[in-house]
């Protein structure tokens, strides 16, 4: 690039009000890009909404005009990919104003935390310019705006402190007329990781209308609010961390794969509902039941039902086993209903009338029509009541070869010894019934 004005329009063509701080910041940015000798295609300017969002047309680089507040997040998406999957050449600069900083605060915090390799220029002119000079989250105390005509009663948000504490690896605070601004921007762009510069500036359209303030006063405001800051912290960027921590283990998509061992002949589908309490192995025992059917060359489905918390309350699985294609995965009339706890009983009350056979823990009912079993005796063992009850089902009804269920436990189960013991105890109990 020979000429600065290859990348930026002449200031006389800028759309901002005369004297607006945006002009100085844009020019400082252009000079920084020029002096860093970056190629146009290696620079992306991501703009937010507001006067600051008029920047796109001024720069002859890649530009991306986004939504209010979302510029940082969208830029981060671009840069995550550029850093990890491409050659990390793209310098991504986010231009936000007061609104972008507050609406997008969580995005700024998150990108700082992840140390995404972007540079954010916060244009802090203490108010919302484009919409008519209303106060913003960055408006200083006592500052007058169209909506705080007697002076803002509240303190301004200290954006740089927030981002510093969120893990920004480069952060600076200065003002638009600072002769060092260009060099600070250069440093920020060259830094690998999240960099942010808060730049105090003047909205000549509105700030001057309500306050007795001139451009030179920015320096005083800066000094009175903590002074100039520039810090750099060595920390690995998102892309470096991602590549080193994630890209190591290569393997196939992990499915639960099952090779059928034999072909069971099953005339009618089997429909089983297992109802118990969360944390008592209902879902895993049910999955193993489905797997045992697959080992026998059959098809199976498992539809689960639980409250929002998986660790408390009921846990219900509906299992269909069929020689052939299963379509509807719900159960209207279970062949077998297993109930191992009060939580489960309450949940499946509606099923009781419609079930052919009911296996239930003996503590839950006196009804002689049910098969009452001592399932909860096995509560100390992992999934005890469920595996015991399933054993009873196999022992009494022999829906298909019980050995397949034992194989499923051994190959795909957890706490295999405990569950196998419970299942076998149930099996013996069931056989004697």
């Amino acid at each position: 690039m020979k000429d600065l004005f290859e990348i930026i329009e002449k200031p006389q063509n800028f759309p901002y009000c005369p004297g607006c701080g945006h002009t100085s910041i844009d020019m400082a940015l252009a000079r920084a890009i020029f002096e860093l000798n970056l190629e146009k295609k290696d620079v992306l300017i991501v703009s937010d909404i507001g006067c600051v969002g008029l920047v796109d047309k001024l720069f002859n680089v890649h530009t991306l005009h986004t939504l209010h507040g979302r510029s940082t997040a969208i830029a981060s998406g671009v840069k995550m990919v550029d850093e990890v999957l491409f050659d990390n050449q793209l310098k991504t600069i986010v231009m936000i104003g007061d609104g972008g900083a507050t609406i997008g605060l969580l995005h700024l915090v998150e990108s700082a935390k992840l140390n995404v390799d972007i540079t954010v220029l916060v244009h802090n002119n203490f108010l919302y310019g484009m919409t008519g000079g209303q106060h913003s989250g960055l408006t200083p105390k006592e500052f007058k705006t169209s909506t705080t005509i007697r002076g803002n009663p509240f303190e301004a948000l200290r954006i740089i402190d927030i981002l510093k504490n969120s893990g920004a690896s480069f952060y600076a605070r200065t003002f638009s007329q600072d002769p060092d601004l260009k060099d600070i921007i250069k440093e920020a762009i060259s830094h690998r990781g999240f960099s942010v510069i808060e730049i105090l500036e003047l909205c000549t359209g509105y700030a001057t209308r309500y306050n007795d303030i001139k451009g030179n006063d920015l320096k005083i405001i800066l000094e009175n609010s903590g002074g100039k800051i520039k810090e750099k912290i060595e920390r690995e960027s998102f892309g470096l961390l991602y590549k080193s921590k994630f890209f190591d283990k290569k393997s196939e998509f992990e499915f639960t794969e099952i090779e059928a061992e034999r072909k069971i002949n099953l005339k009618n589908p089997i429909k089983i509902v297992i109802a118990g309490s969360a944390g008592e192995g209902v879902q895993l025992a049910s999955s193993l039941l489905c797997i045992s059917a697959i080992l026998g060359g059959l098809n199976s489905t498992q539809k689960n039902d639980n409250p929002v918390t998986v660790g408390s309350g009921f846990s219900v699985s509906e299992i269909i086993i069929k020689d052939g294609d299963i379509k509807y995965t719900g159960i209207e009339e279970p062949d077998y209903l297993i109930i191992t706890s009060m939580d489960g009983l309450k949940r499946v009350k509606g099923f009781i009338e419609r079930s052919k056979n009911i296996i239930i823990d003996e503590s839950l009912t006196d009804n002689k029509n049910f098969i009452r079993v001592p399932a909860r005796k096995y509560i100390k063992l992992r999934g005890g009541p469920t595996y015991f009850s399933l054993g009873v089902l196999f022992g009494k009804f022999n829906p298909f070869d019980f050995e397949l269920y034992e194989k499923a436990i051994l190959k795909y189960g957890k706490a295999k010894d405990e569950t196998l013991t419970c299942f076998r105890e149930g099996l013996n109990f069931g056989r004697k019934l």
């Binding site: 890649h62 997040a73 998509f253 509807y328």
Partner: protein
């Protein structure tokens, strides 16, 4: 060899096979079963999967990743989708391909996290400011998740649009034995890149229905992406007829290309009754149609609808029943003007509509 898996896992597998290499998510039932396998599997194929701080960040990351040229996807449910809507509008306006899996649960608001539902069709069809059309594709079985997520990613890529993959808790979270060999894998399609011939404009098209050739941010050709009203170059403008032309183009490129993503299953029987359904309820319809010898139409492209095509089917029947698991009869509302006089809406919430319930309804009319 069989696998024992869920719709959620198959969506993840299909997305990766479709070339998705960027995923951003935030946990939400019943879409976490897509988020988790994507976090586990994407790094294995040198893709990026990130957990975002909320759903707005998730979709924004996807938009950014897609702009850099990588196929991107996120997955959520009603409450999270509500947060994504502004960004979804942005992706429509700035013509950015992304796939959003919307796994429905009982609404409104946080509703019932672990209760199946089909209440979000109208919500998602009209979820952008300005009401521009965007494709909604919905699997009608667990195994179909694989095939249709690939189609969804394809459509988003070649039409440069967000696509909603609309599914339900009982599809994403229910497990089923599946023969991997029987999964259908459609051809994977790509967005068309600008070749370097002629002048590059970010939103260039000749005919309104044309999809502009893509060039990534950071690529060789300088791009100007925007979500504000713009001309073909991407310059923010107001009083220019080209801006209005670009807006009409956003509609035409979807509606005029509808044949490229018209997915359905029409089972014709010698009957004067037709059942129309979609999503998880389709399985009950298939089961009962077998027994009662009625015809059925399962829609897998739910929006936009090809009206003349639907009409040509509906005309053949004396009675049409639209079955779906929601309160208002979402699909019924979308198609009722095409149905003719003897049309019925069978709806229910709280649990799946069973084949028995459809049977009873059929016997009552």
């Amino acid at each position: 060899m069989k696998i024992f898996t869920s719709g959620g896992e198959l969506i993840a597998k299909g997305a990766i096979d479709a070339g998705v290499r960027f995923f951003a998510g935030y946990p939400i039932t019943p879409a976490s079963v897509i988020y988790e396998p994507m976090m586990r599997e994407l790094p294995k194929v040198e893709g990026i999967a990130v957990g975002a701080s909320d759903e707005i960040s998730a979709i924004s990351y996807c938009i950014g990743a897609s702009l850099r040229g990588i196929k991107s996807m996120t997955a959520t449910s009603g409450p999270g989708f509500s947060l994504m809507i502004e960004s979804l509008s942005y992706a429509i306006m700035s013509e950015i391909p992304i796939t959003i899996v919307l796994a429905q649960r009982l609404g409104p608001a946080t509703g019932g996290a672990t209760t199946s539902s089909q209440g979000d069709l109208l919500f998602s069809a009209f979820s952008n400011s300005g009401s521009y059309p965007l494709p909604i594709i919905s699997p009608s079985s667990i195994e179909e998740c694989y095939e249709l997520i690939i189609h969804s990613v394809n459509v988003s890529e070649f039409l440069r649009t967000p696509v909603i993959f609309l599914t339900e808790k009982e599809i994403t979270m229910t497990k089923k034995s599946i023969d991997l060999n029987f999964l259908k894998k459609p051809e994977v399609l790509e967005r068309k890149y600008f070749s370097g011939n002629g002048q590059f404009k970010t939103y260039n098209f000749k005919d309104l229905k044309d999809v502009p050739d893509f060039s990534p941010v950071g690529g060789e050709f300088l791009t100007r992406y925007t979500g504000s009203a713009h001309d073909k170059k991407g310059d923010l403008k107001k009083d220019d007829p080209e801006v209005i032309e670009v807006l009409y183009h956003l509609k035409e490129k979807i509606l005029k290309n509808i044949d490229k993503f018209l997915f359905y299953e029409y089972f014709e029987r010698n009957s004067d009754i037709l059942i129309v359904s979609y999503g998880v309820t389709s399985e009950s319809v298939r089961e009962i149609a077998e027994l009662k010898k009625v015809s059925y139409l399962i829609l897998k492209t739910l929006y936009p609808l090809k009206e003349e095509f639907l009409k040509s089917i509906f005309e053949k029947y004396k009675k049409i029943i639209v079955v779906e698991e929601n309160i208002m009869g979402n699909l019924y509302i979308l198609i009722r003007h095409l149905l003719g006089t003897k049309a019925y809406s069978l709806t229910k919430i709280g649990s799946l509509i069973s084949p028995g319930e459809i049977k009873n309804f059929l016997e009552s009319i």
